[in-house]
Subunit: 127 residues, 2 copies
DNA sequence: ATCAACACTTACCTTTTTGTGCGTACTTAC
DNA sequence: GTAAGTACGCACAAAAAGGTAAGTGTTGAT
């Protein structure tokens, strides 16, 4: 009994496969605000409003949603102190840090090299 | 005169800033299909329809659009042979490979660890 | 007494993204 | 002769993402 169990051992995802659940994870991580949340939290614990101020252009609604997704996936830990006014702290879990390191490296490359990209885009303008 | 000029030398982007153009680059790279195109092309040159078959679930329209974005940004090189039926080859530029390496590492982490994420998500189900 | 701050949530609306289906121009295979 | 493959572009429609504004409940500051 129970055919679908215990076989999670060495299974590697296949992002090219349409139905592979790893796609969902990728989408959450590389979502518009997800990337920036990872980079921000890699620098340490933040409160909600700190994140909101740090990440330019994010709305409360989107930040809340993004954080909930990442919490669900086990990348972000949320700690709420029952005080008034509310005080909530967000930080990366162990797993979150592992991903964040990868995300950070991508972000780094872009921050350092984006002028090269802009230059290329300008050349290709006519295209 | 000319305060905004010639200072593109050592300028690093700031992804947290709403108006920084690096945001656009990030969005193209981390777009839904962009990530998968990078990973696919890192394995070598592909024709359009090869990419389409490889990347499960992508429509012709979206693949074309994604490739155009990445070509514009100078990440992808497009070579069309004037034969009939059409024959077009896509590959990564030098710059494209640099990014692709970063993207690949993120994709790798996800493929290897996505079951951990799924497990965490299941635990948080009640949340 | 009024207001801002906190961490959200909800409803409503706009924008963006994505999919679907059709057309193209020619060739090869059936 | 009919269909499929090639690499798209275009028009239309649906779906998803995102933004805006308002409300919550309490407290400390003005």
């Amino acid at each position: 009994m129970d055919e679908v169990r215990l076989n999670a051992r060495m299974e590697r995802g296949e992002l090219f496969a349409e139905r592979c659940p790893s796609r969902q994870v990728l989408n959450h991580v590389t979502s518009r605000w997800g990337v920036l949340v990872f980079v921000a939290l890699l620098q340490g614990t933040h409160r909600f409003s700190e994140l909101r101020r740090k990440i330019g252009g994010v709305s409360e609604r989107m930040l809340a949603q993004t954080l909930q997704n990442l919490e669900q996936d086990g990348f972000v830990q949320r700690v709420a102190y029952p005080v008034v006014p509310p005080h909530v702290e967000y930080s990366l879990t162990e797993m979150g840090q592992e991903v964040a390191v990868q995300v950070q490296q991508l972000a780094d490359w872009i921050e350092v090299n984006y002028t090269r990209v802009l230059a290329a885009a300008q050349v290709n303008e006519s295209v």
